[in-house]
């Protein structure tokens, strides 16, 4: 920094001292120079040096000085002084956006006001204000730029964009925001008019809209401040619409137009517009090129079909048929990406229309009235692509049960793509025979066709008729509870067998690059999905988890997916599923291994960290001790969380730098997109998770000295993030999980959740609990911060006058967390209200305090009972680990809370002292029972024989009439027995490693 801010060679010794962190010396030197010559720069340098002092009094003095300058509207003469003051404020008030605008923003603006013609100064000041989110001054500076440089085309747009940015920022008063929004709207409207009224569109006046980005800004502002009719007018206008010179082919404008026409029910216009676009898309230019194929976008087809459906008259339908035919005509020459749209448009049209819909000529023509042949025709044409299933799913889910039954019959008869031949696959022969004998599944295209059929079969069979009390399976007519077990089992067996036959012989037979995924993968995924659904069909409690049907199916799913992963290292969907399943089984290190294979980086740490680290503190808080053959040692959970937090800190400067760059390059639309990202990342669910988990782990697991300095990463969150005013953005990526389910119901990610997903409700409560812990737990309490924390808790409770509803809390919490949540809320209320003498006189005070204490005791007792009643503890699955860790934390917090209240003496209400005794007693009992059970769980795993139990569970399903061979058991000849055994050993080691953390759950001495 010294290099940039060094003004005079004589100042070099001062900077050297600063860089050496010798502030005392630096201050001495600067005073000496000031005594000789008093300059604004040296004055600023002195303030900067003082800001680096560790003394709070010095920092306070610096702040006072800076505030004084801003209040006096002091005009600084040189840029370096402002930079120094900016740095100084950063030292004394880090992360304080509001303070920055009031002080530095104001000083910068005063400079610009004094020297408006200094363009460089204005630009630097604008950049700084924008970067700090000080839109008040940013808009004043952009206004000054517009006035001072009237020959600039860009500055009026900067000014408009800055005003609009201000108008959409929640930090400013509502009436001001409205005002500036309307002003931006009026000004951009004028610029649009200038473009519209220009005599020659090639010679537009300086102050007019001239670029696609300016048009997008016009739409953004009109959308917020004007009305859709106005936007449509702009889009219809030849000088401003998507075909205008100014638009330069910006596709987004067409997208706007189609959407607005549809929303306004302007069906005729929508029909004509889309028809015209589709025609343009397939029309060659004079050089014989198709240059506008982009117009064959699926969105255009959708608009075309929807408008036809809303118009009366046969001619519309004829036009749709003709357009589809024209696109599918081989002579048309459009690329296959676009042709596929036309084929899908045909399927969509047929499903939309109840009257026969014919396509093609001659005897082969297919009638749209009969929907199955239409689906099958599409499947025939596009079955070699994985997307065929996704394309057809929306239509299959519209079909009636009878139609589904017919479709299933056709699919099962192998009429569509022939018999894959795997049922006849002979293991011993196959290795010697040429694989051409099995061409039904030995090419990627054939296999993909079969996989699409399997997915359709899965879709149909795993869906029971909706809304019936005792549903029967549509296909085998057996009564079912949730899924049809027998159909699923048949499908699982069939898919797993085809999968295992296909990969038999290894990857070398498939001509794949090492980075390619195996074409058979989705069969393994599909079979695993069947297993997971099957695991829900026979839940019966047993003393040992490994002897349950549920576990047997989960282990089968894992074993098959592991087999698949060994053939297809790059398939991230397999790793995502494996991470989830290992968590369920309580295998922390195996889950970590699967997660590491995702190789997440950068923003992916925000979107996918939840898949392992949500609730990691009640699953595997300690370092991973089990090292697998194929991996180096893993990062500890806390290291991983810190890596994630680094992302958020870096993102701030990336966003602010690029917002500025967007202004510079006239990319106004991007400015607003980045603003959205900035708001989202300022408090994403995942960032909140990283703080909560980090803090919980730090309390439990002894850390190294380097880790101690961290306070959990609170700096990445807005202050008091638990308050209801802070909105959390859910950026977690649930969609990348594989899912072949109906799009109308829960995705597979939801179906296979171990625990309720990350939620606003849980995290907000957790953050508030963290405040409570900060107040009461001596291991984390910050000296001197008690009053501030207590007041934060009070304002949280006040702002949450109806504290989170309990009614549906089980939707968000595990049973143990649900009980704990009641306890925490009661503790928050007790700690806050019993120490607030102002409330003591209120008539309801005692009754309320009693009820909080009652709730607290009930929930602690409930927690004790939950543990006492817990069966199947060994090996410890996720639900057991969650139970023990959660109970321990709540016990510990209740323990310290009572200690804290007792230590308050007269500051706490007298009646609370008595109540504390019961809490303390229950808290101790709870921690004791957790500690006892933890010992039992740990000891249980020390015994031998676990590997055999795992293998038995994979190969045999326990049942009421004795054990039956499992699906994988019947296919074991196709599995590698040696590998299976090694894997079972890893599973057991992983269990042993997982319970190491339980040794931290020790009862506390009073």
């Amino acid at each position: 920094m010294g290099d940039q801010l060094l003004k005079d060679r004589q100042d070099a010794p001062i900077w050297n001292a600063i860089e050496a962190n010798n502030f005392k010396q630096a201050l001495k030197l600067v005073d000496k120079r000031l005594a000789k010559k008093h300059t604004e720069y040296l004055e600023a340098l002195k303030v900067f040096i003082r800001s680096r002092s560790p003394l709070a009094s010095e920092k306070a003095a610096v702040l006072l000085h800076l505030e004084g300058l801003a209040e006096r509207k002091f005009v600084l003469k040189d840029q370096e002084s402002i930079e120094l003051y900016d740095e100084a404020l950063g030292e004394v008030m880090p992360q304080q956006q509001e303070g920055w605008g009031r002080i530095i923003g104001e000083l910068r603006w005063q400079c610009v006001k004094a020297r408006p013609k200094d363009e460089d100064l204005s630009l630097k000041s604008f950049e700084a204000c924008l970067g700090k989110g000080d839109l008040e001054h940013a808009k004043q500076i952009s206004n000054s730029l517009e006035k001072s440089f009237p020959s600039s085309h860009a500055y009026p747009f900067w000014n408009i964009a800055a005003m609009f940015l201000y108008s959409i920022s929640a930090s400013y008063p509502e009436n001001q925001r409205k005002l500036w929004g309307s002003l931006a709207f009026a000004q951009i409207g004028k610029l649009a008019l200038a473009t519209k009224d220009a005599a020659d569109p090639r010679k537009l006046p300086l102050r007019s809209i001239q670029t696609p980005q300016e048009l997008l800004l016009l739409h953004r502002i009109t959308e917020a401040n004007g009305n859709p009719v106005q936007r449509l007018e702009y889009l219809r206008d030849p000088s401003l619409g998507p075909d205008s010179l100014v638009a330069k082919g910006e596709w987004q404008l067409w997208r706007f137009k189609l959407k607005l026409l549809e929303e306004a029910y302007l069906w005729k216009e929508l029909f004509n517009t889309t028809r015209e676009l589709l025609k343009r898309g397939r029309t060659k230019d004079e050089s014989g090129q198709l240059v506008e194929t982009r117009m064959c976008d699926w969105l255009v087809w959708e608009g075309f079909i929807r408008s036809w459906r809303n118009l009366d008259g046969h001619e519309y339908k004829d036009a749709v048929v003709a357009e589809v035919q024209a696109h599918l005509d081989p002579a048309c020459g459009i690329d296959k990406a676009w042709k596929r749209n036309a084929s899908l448009a045909w399927v969509k049209s047929s499903f939309a229309d109840s009257t026969p819909f014919y396509l093609g000529k001659g005897p082969d023509k297919v009638s749209g009235h009969d929907r199955i042949p239409i689906l099958l025709q599409y499947l025939h044409q596009y079955g070699t692509a994985t997307t065929a299933y996704n394309d057809l799913r929306p239509f299959v889910q519209q079909m009636k049960p009878e139609e589904c039954r017919q479709l299933l019959a056709v699919l099962s008869s192998h009429k569509v793509f022939g018999d894959p031949g795997h049922s006849k696959y002979d293991l011993s022969q196959a290795r010697e025979d040429s694989k051409s004998d099995y061409e039904g599944f030995k090419t990627a295209s054939k296999l993909t066709e079969h996989i699409n059929v399997y997915k359709l079969k899965y879709f149909i069979t795993s869906r029971l008729p909706e809304g019936e009390n005792e549903p029967t399976c549509n296909y085998c007519f057996e009564a079912q509870s949730q899924y049809c077990a027998s159909c699923l089992k048949t499908l699982a067996h069939d898919a797993a067998k085809l999968y295992l036959c296909a990969v038999d012989g290894g990857r070398s037979e498939w001509n794949l690059l090492p980075t390619d995924r195996h074409p058979a993968d989705d069969l393994a995924v599909l079979a695993a999905m069947c297993f997971i659904k099957l695991s829900k069909t026979g839940i019966e409690s047993s003393d040992e988890p490994l002897t349950s049907v549920e576990t047997s199916y989960i282990l089968q799913a894992i074993a098959l997916l592991e087999h698949a992963a060994s053939h297809s290292q790059s398939n991230f969907q397999i790793w995502l599923l494996l991470t989830r399943l290992y968590i369920r089984l309580g295998c922390g290190s195996m889950a970590m291994r699967a997660y590491e294979n995702l190789a997440l980086k950068q923003i992916q740490l925000d979107t996918l960290s939840y898949s392992l680290f949500d609730r990691i503190s009640s699953f595997h808080p300690h370092p991973f001790g089990h090292v697998l053959d194929d991996s180096t040692s893993f990062k500890t959970p806390i290291e991983s969380l810190r890596k994630q937090q680094k992302l958020y800190r870096g993102a701030r400067s990336h966003i602010s730098h690029n917002s500025w760059l967007s202004f510079k390059h006239g990319s106004y639309n991007t400015v607003f997109e980045l603003q959205e990202v900035s708001q989202t990342l300022s408090c994403s669910l995942s960032s909140v998770m990283s703080v909560i988990e980090n803090r919980k782990i730090s309390r439990l697991v002894p850390s190294s000295a380097s880790e101690d300095s961290n306070n959990g990463g609170y700096d990445i969150l807005p202050p008091n993030a638990e308050s209801l005013e802070t909105r959390y953005a859910d950026t977690n990526d649930y969609a990348t999980f594989p899912s072949f389910e109906t799009t109308r119901g829960p995705s597979f990610e939801e179906l296979c959740r171990v625990f309720p997903a990350p939620s606003d409700y849980r995290y907000r409560n957790d953050l508030a609990t963290e405040k409570l812990i900060q107040l009461v737990d001596p291991s984390v309490a910050i000296a001197g911060a008690n009053d501030a924390v207590a007041s934060d808790i009070r304002s949280y409770i006040e702002s949450n006058s109806n504290l989170p509803e309990m009614d549906d809390s089980e939707k968000y919490l595990t049973p143990a967390e649900n009980l704990a949540s009641t306890a925490y809320i009661s503790l928050l209320l007790i700690v806050s209200e019993s120490c607030n003498p102002e409330l003591w006189q209120e008539p309801q005070f005692q009754a309320q305090l009693d009820s909080y204490n009652k709730d607290l005791c009930e929930s602690l007792e409930g927690q004790i009972q939950l543990i006492e009643n817990a069966k199947d503890l060994i090996p410890a699955f996720a639900k057991t680990l969650n139970l023990l860790y959660t109970a321990y934390q709540v016990g510990r917090t209740a323990f310290y809370s009572s200690k804290y209240l007792s230590s308050r003496g007269k500051e706490a209400h007298a009646s609370q002292l008595e109540a504390n005794k019961e809490t303390l007693d229950l808290a101790k009992r709870l921690m004791q029972i957790v500690a006892d059970r933890s010992v039992v769980v740990k000891k249980g795993l020390d015994e031998g024989g676990w590997i055999d139990k795992v293998l038995d569970s994979v190969l045999q399903v326990p049942g009421s009439e004795g054990e039956t061979e499992s699906v994988l058991g019947s296919l074991k000849d196709l599995m590698d027995a040696g590998r299976l055994e090694v894997w079972a050993g890893d599973v057991v080691e992983s269990w042993r490693d997982s319970v190491v953390g339980l040794s931290y759950l020790k009862a506390l001495a009073s």
């Binding site: 980005q213 994985t386 980075t515 950068q602 923003i603 992916q604 979107t607 760059l661 990319s667």
Partner: protein, 190 residues
């Protein structure tokens, strides 16, 4: 279904289906945002059912900096494909071809000389794609990449710099025969 739209900065939260593939690098946010800030019209997404990101292309239009003017490696105004990626589930549908054609069209519109890109020597699929569209290897950049995803034991891989002349290059001044044997160092490319 094929549907294209401009990349939106918020898409960084949704691009895992393409970016979890080992041949697609995930960079820091600055990388994506600097493209949306400078060349928003050259950053396109192909959207699948329910808005999944099936593919995207990031491109730019520029020349080498002027101080490079007299270097033999100077590049005149051209379009560059910085990243092109298609999610594994959406491959072989023509999306990569469609997206790169749209960048070529922009290159023509802005009067660029050619479109170029770097591709790993081992990435035969991408090479096939570009060859099929009229691109040729212009030069080989030695150890351009610092790793080799097809072989974890290696810590570097060559790149092919592939090019396709645009309308402006009527005399095909900017293409070269046998570019594979024309090796340059990473510092020579810009």
């Amino acid at each position: 279904m094929t549907s294209l739209r401009p990349f939106h900065a918020m898409d960084v939260f949704k691009f895992n289906p393409t970016n979890l593939d080992p041949l697609t690098e995930t960079y820091d946010l600055n990388f994506y945002f600097s493209y949306t800030a400078r060349w928003p019209h050259l950053f396109d997404v192909a959207e699948g059912q329910d808005g999944t990101i099936d593919a995207y292309i990031m491109g730019k239009l520029e020349s080498s900096p002027s101080f490079y003017k007299f270097s033999p490696h100077y590049l005149p105004f051209h379009a560059h494909i910085t990243a092109l990626t298609v999610a594994p589930h959406a491959r072989r549908l023509g999306l990569a071809r469609t997206l790169s054609q749209s960048l070529e069209r922009s290159g023509d519109e802005y009067d660029a000389w050619f479109v170029d890109l770097f591709v790993r020597k081992s990435n035969q699929i991408a090479q096939k794609l570009y060859q099929g569209m009229g691109y040729n290897v212009y030069r080989r950049v030695l150890d351009y990449y610092s790793d080799d995803p097809t072989d974890k034991t290696k810590d570097g891989e060559d790149a092919y710099d592939m090019r396709k002349p645009l309308r402006r290059d009527k005399d095909r001044k900017h293409v070269r025969e046998n570019g594979e044997s024309f090796a340059v160092e990473p510092q020579d490319v810009w």
